[in-house]
Symmetry: C2
DNA sequence: GTCTATAATCGGATAGAC
DNA sequence: GTCTATCCGATTATAGAC
């Protein structure tokens, strides 16, 4: 007979993380106080620290997605017969979250924090390494099939594809008139022209 | 007979700003303490606050460039006969500072701070509005001359040109293997393909 | 102009009762 | 599991001497 219900524990942590994420997005990590998180989550300080070792652990939890599901979807896209279909699927997979209002400022905050927090940096670079590998893989396939500019190095090009997707987040966070959902078509256009260099897109 | 030498006062402020910039780049705004700035600048706290109203004013000063010189160079590029020459000149003007090691982390920090600091936000958006106007201007000229894809809206395209340049800073700040100076050719390639869509670049 | 000293506040985190 | 109470340290900024 155990005294803690793991599901309830996880749900409670999730409740805290959700409350904190909105604050981190609006004010950044340092300027968000634990007292504010307590208020937003409706609990005392003593209780908050029962669920998280410290403030930083709450921030990390915001970015701990289960890679399970994502890895599955990346693998699915990467194994498509048509590499361009696979690429566009990956782009959507990575770009669509940018349409959630909290995501752009949170991603920006994560990027600057990762610069000084090696644990977070490792967390994020694990994710981005998986994304990079998937993109490079479809690019290699497309290149071999003559469906992209063969002069491009797939790994190098993949880095720029990721940079372009990241622009969706940074632009949304810095320019109020920039709406990721409206900009997705332009992102796809730039990618096509970059990678195709005048080649025909369709088979 | 005045007791303060304005030139000396400005030099002293500059000395403080230089010392602070390195700290802001390494640790961010909030985690840099005024005590650290004092140590780095070799002066006492009382003296530091003789030159700056508060810590935030020091941070702002890091980004107060004289727009004089920059406006002149933008205007010069914009008035080139060949709009592509003008565009590439502007791109270099904006991209080359990314090769200074402190610039990428400082720019990232400025972007996240601007999100919560309307004064800084105005400072930065004044700059970027001028840049956007210059880029849109050369793109309009290029489009009219049939030297870029006429289907692109110059203002919209200019925003993406700026986003691509910004990628140089964000990528450098988040990916240790990314070197802006090495990536400049690729940036230019992407811009050409994006804006030309198969058209010939040279006249 | 520059210093020392310190005021005033706020922050994260813990102890321990219930 | 949750709370109240509180500690300790750090931080920005100021007062006032030299």
């Amino acid at each position: 007979m155990r005294t803690v219900d793991p599901a309830r524990f996880r749900a409670r942590r999730r409740h805290i993380v959700d409350a904190a994420a909105a604050l981190f997005a609006a004010k950044g990590f340092e300027r968000t106080t634990t007292a504010e998180i307590c208020r937003a989550a409706g609990m005392s300080s003593g209780n908050l620290f029962h669920y998280f070792r410290n403030k930083r652990a709450i921030f990390h939890a915001v970015f701990e997605e289960d890679g399970e599901e994502k890895a599955r979807r990346l693998e699915e896209a990467r194994s498509r017969d048509d590499p361009w279909e696979g690429l566009l699927e990956i782009v959507d997979l990575l770009a669509v979250p940018a349409t959630e209002p909290l995501a752009p400022p949170l991603v920006m905050e994560a990027m600057v924090q990762a610069y000084r927090d090696s644990e977070l940096e490792e967390l994020l670079s694990r994710d981005s390494a998986a994304e990079h590998a998937a993109i490079a893989s479809v690019l290699r396939k497309a290149s071999a099939a003559g469906r992209t500019d063969p002069g491009l190095d797939p790994d190098h090009a993949a880095s720029w594809v990721m940079a372009l997707i990241a622009s969706l987040y940074t632009s949304a966070a810095t320019d109020p008139s920039f709406t990721p959902s409206e900009q997705l078509p332009m992102l796809r256009l730039i990618l096509r022209r970059f990678l195709l260099d005048g080649r025909e897109h369709r088979k």
